[in-house]
Subunit: 314 residues, 2 copies
């Protein structure tokens, strides 16, 4: 009998960002208004607070905290959106969005720190579960901020289901939070792999190629199309490795290894500043930050780093 | 060295619907208006035509055809949306959406057949590549129909990039076609697997559990949450098997096998009419339509059938 699960662990890598969420989303309670009211007002309830897509953190001079009591959160400002994230050890967790114009005054306060989501994950300021909750809050709140109106009729929509749905106030159409699947992959050919650099990358940075999966594509088809579009390489088989939620604003990174069938690179200049083949030894040096040519990799919190690492260790 | 690709083939199953698309999407030409104009008007260009989410097919009394010449497509009615799907053997392929009120008169014509997308896939009326193109057209055109307005400001948006983008005519925000990842999975425990039936299923139908992946989740986390929510079963490891685009209206089905850690089922009555364990022998009988209890499976064109089949053959 097949062991479906050989070599796959329950948890992904311990230093990959935004995975291993610990909240029980308790989705069955989202439409239970009475339950929501009690949970929101319970003394142990924890509130994550964001403003302009940035988590507001409590700072006592030595320690950062990502959660506020309800009264503390309300004192920071009125929530323009509230989302129920779930429960952990009997305590509910909600997220508040604050009006964008509060940002400067909050930023000036000595008892708060406003640290962008990418830095929080990169510096691993919190454990994986809390970083996952912050990322989820960011994705949901940014969806609300960009979906105040019904795309079907143009009239105002309103949040419902504890923040997991919006309904048009006029035509009644329901809208659900959006998650955009993205394929991110290393094309490999024997001892070399294909990496590229986007024009906006930091100096020396090379990474896996990536792109949005389009309607009508399988994961494997999207991998093949993206690699061919961006670098002119033909791809055969594709293997899924690991996924990562990526709250910028709300993607699902689907990490894959792809089998390159050709070698001649033709870069699409609209997408990439460069693409080239790297040997396994070079990728190892890049990950250790000792590459002779000064090439560097995305941080450990990003799935690209882990796909590169898998290639090195294969 | 790891063989990343052991046991994985380039193409998925030959009877799975909506996979193995054969069009080169030629995405680099989407913003090239001059190129688009020439391609659209070229004599060999093929047009898929949809009305009310339903493909319009040509019928000569013995043979169905899914494509029209431009002049033929225009004679059916003015296109409310036009999308460039890609190229195949040097010929371009576009899709037209017709106004919904044309449906009855088109339906009445003896030289046309209007067959819904699900039936087209189920009966395999066309090869996989053409079914994939029709599904892609359906997903894109239905996205346009439901996104005439900017979700950020409520004003009208307009299609651009050959139908792969909409831009707000007032605030300028760009909107991209949406693809909703869905996890669909069989929880297995030794010789048995967990299947459920939704209230709207045909009589006797049991299938894999499934649900939308939510913002902030990995594929594996979504699988665990859905199985626990719908059936109360705890899940350990998860293995990705195969994906399938599902144009109803625009999902990506991510097929997985999950390791069940518990046995006692608690059905969520809001989601399922029933859920129970089936032995490998039972699932084999279900797939052969010889199950003693009259249980039947989704058709071969659906990924659930293939996941069940993998379990039987494991």
């Amino acid at each position: 009998m097949t062991d479906w699960f050989d070599a796959l662990s329950l948890r992904g890598p311990a230093d990959l960002g935004f995975i291993n969420g610990g909240l029980d989303r308790t989705a069955l309670r989202r439409d239970d208004l009475a339950w929501q009211h009690i949970a929101y007002n319970a003394p142990g309830t924890q509130i994550l607070v964001l403003c302009q897509d940035t988590p507001i953190l409590k700072w006592d001079g030595s320690k950062l905290s990502s959660t506020f009591k309800l009264s503390e959160a309300q004192a920071l400002g009125a929530a323009t959106d509230i989302v129920f994230l779930g429960m952990e050890n009997g305590r509910s967790c909600f997220a508040h969005q604050l009006a964008a114009d509060l940002f400067p005054s909050l930023k000036a306060r000595p008892d708060l720190k406003l640290i962008d989501m990418r830095s929080i994950a990169m510096q691993a300021l919190f454990d994986q579960s809390r970083t996952s909750a912050l990322g989820t809050a960011k994705s949901l709140l940014s969806w609300h901020a960009r979906h105040r109106f019904c795309s079907a009729c143009g009239q105002a929509s309103a949040a419902t289901s504890a923040g997991w749905k919006r309904r048009c106030t006029v035509c009644g159409v329901e809208h659900f939070p959006r998650t955009d699947p993205v394929v991110i992959m290393l094309a490999v050919r024997g001892d070399v792999c294909l990496m590229g650099r986007a024009p906006q990358f930091p100096e020396g940075r090379y990474s896996c190629l990536a792109g949005f999966l389009e309607p009508g594509e399988t994961i494997e088809e999207a991998v093949r199309r993206e690699i061919h579009e961006e670098a002119g390489i033909k791809v055969g088989r594709v293997r899924y490795m690991q996924a990562q939620p990526w709250p910028f604003p709300s993607s699902l990174m689907i990490g894959c290894i792809a089998e390159a069938l050709t070698s001649d690179i033709t870069v699409d200049p609209a997408e990439l500043a460069d693409a080239r083949w790297f040997t396994r030894a070079e990728v190892a040096a890049i990950l250790e930050n000792t590459h002779a040519g000064g090439v560097n990799s995305p941080p450990r919190m990003a799935i690209a780093n882990h796909i590169m690492d898998l290639f090195v260790r294969a």
